[in-house]
């Protein structure tokens, strides 16, 4: 307590509400940027299908991609039904 007080007097401790501000902005902007651009999710889905299709056959009609938010993080959740795996030697490259 006393140490804390002394530190505060000499400006060494940092309540740093700006870090809270930055973190909240980071999270809210993830949502804003996704939600305000309709092409964003479609573009992301199309690119994911392209890449994943190199490795497996997937059901594009029933796949789901969305963002899930908790208090402190945002996650990209993709639920992609797999029909069939391609053979390892069938891969390009």
């Amino acid at each position: 307590m006393v140490l804390d007080l002394i530190q505060r007097i000499f400006g060494k401790s940092c309540t740093c509400s700006k870090d809270v501000a930055k973190e909240r902005l980071r999270l809210v902007l993830v949502h804003d940027r996704v939600n305000t651009s309709p092409q964003f999710m479609e573009g992301l889905k199309d690119d994911m299908i392209k890449v994943i299709s190199n490795y497996m056959d997937i059901n594009e009609q029933t796949m789901e991609v969305h963002f899930a938010q908790t208090e402190t993080s945002v996650a990209l959740i993709a639920n992609i039904p797999v029909n069939r795996m391609k053979r390892g030697n069938g891969l390009k490259d």
């Binding site: 007097i9 000499f10 400006g11 940092c14 309540t15 740093c16 509400s17 700006k18 870090d19 501000a21 930055k22 909240r24 902005l25 980071r26 809210v28 902007l29 804003d32 940027r33 305000t36 651009s37």
Partner: protein, 263 residues
């Protein structure tokens, strides 16, 4: 041919009108011919900030509707020879003008002026679309607050989708002592979040209130901190390489004492 610059922000009250007035006056002080356009139809304010409210005869809507010639509506600022204001209409709304008309107006003005500066209304609706329509360049004004930075991010996205690339950022009303304490986002924090080029920073300055009271843009005052900041921005827009001004906390007694004893 001059440049058409729109001053925008998304959020209201962050200093768009003050910035428009000061940049316009700053250019005029350097002898550039400037047209200020108040695009905030229905809520005009650039006229009072400039101290020209008593000289309005015609306005932007009169020009667009053909009630007068463009030159009749432009108010010449007697203090700065090369500065003109085209005021907004107060009795109409944003729908009285459309983006095509604004674009045409800007094209006409840019023939005659070195800089056309458009003071954009807050918001992202018709008024915003009108204000940006004729602009070659956008300047986004924000303050170091969550709400203002969030809206700035949205505006950057909207400008991008309207084909207005590479907007520049002005961070307004920075309070050095709060930044120092870690209670206000600093320049780097905001640039990291918005990821656009920084044009300048303006310290919080009581003189802005005084100058608005008087209708005399602060940039004309040689001693105010905001004035220096605006002058720097003007010079950068003219292509000069001007370092960012140092914004330092006005140290209190104890900080000075600490410096003396070196702890």
């Amino acid at each position: 041919m001059g440049d058409v610059i729109v001053i925008t922000s998304g959020k209201g009250g962050v200093g768009k009108t003050t910035t428009s007035a000061n940049l316009g006056t700053g250019f005029a002080l350097l002898g550039k011919k400037v047209a200020l356009i108040d695009a905030d139809i229905g809520l005009r304010n650039l006229d009072v900030v400039m101290g020209l409210e008593n000289r309005i005869v015609y306005d932007l809507v009169d020009v667009v509707e053909g009630n007068c010639r463009l030159k009749q509506a432009m108010i010449r600022d007697k203090r700065y020879e090369s500065l003109y204001l085209l005021p907004a209409a107060q009795t109409r709304d944003k729908n009285a003008v459309n983006p095509d008309q604004m674009e045409k107006l800007c094209k006409e003005l840019v023939q005659d002026f070195d800089f056309v500066i458009i003071d954009c209304p807050a918001g992202i609706e018709q008024g915003f679309k009108n204000a940006i329509a004729g602009a070659d360049q956008a300047i986004i004004v924000t303050t170091p607050e969550v709400s203002a930075v969030r809206d700035a991010d949205r505006i950057i996205g909207l400008l991008e989708s309207e084909g207005k690339h590479n907007p520049k950022l002005i961070i307004n009303r920075i309070r050095p002592h709060m930044v120092k304490k870690g209670d206000m986002m600093d320049i780097d924090d905001i640039i990291e979040i918005l990821a656009i080029d920084l044009l300048g920073i303006i310290p919080e300055d009581d003189y802005i209130v005084v100058s608005t009271n008087r209708g005399e843009p602060a940039v004309a005052n040689p001693v105010s901190g905001a004035s220096t900041a605006y002058k720097n921005i003007v010079r950068r827009l003219l292509g000069e390489n001007v370092p960012l001004m140092k914004i330092e906390a006005n140290d209190g007694f104890f900080t000075r004492l600490k410096k003396v004893f070196n702890f």
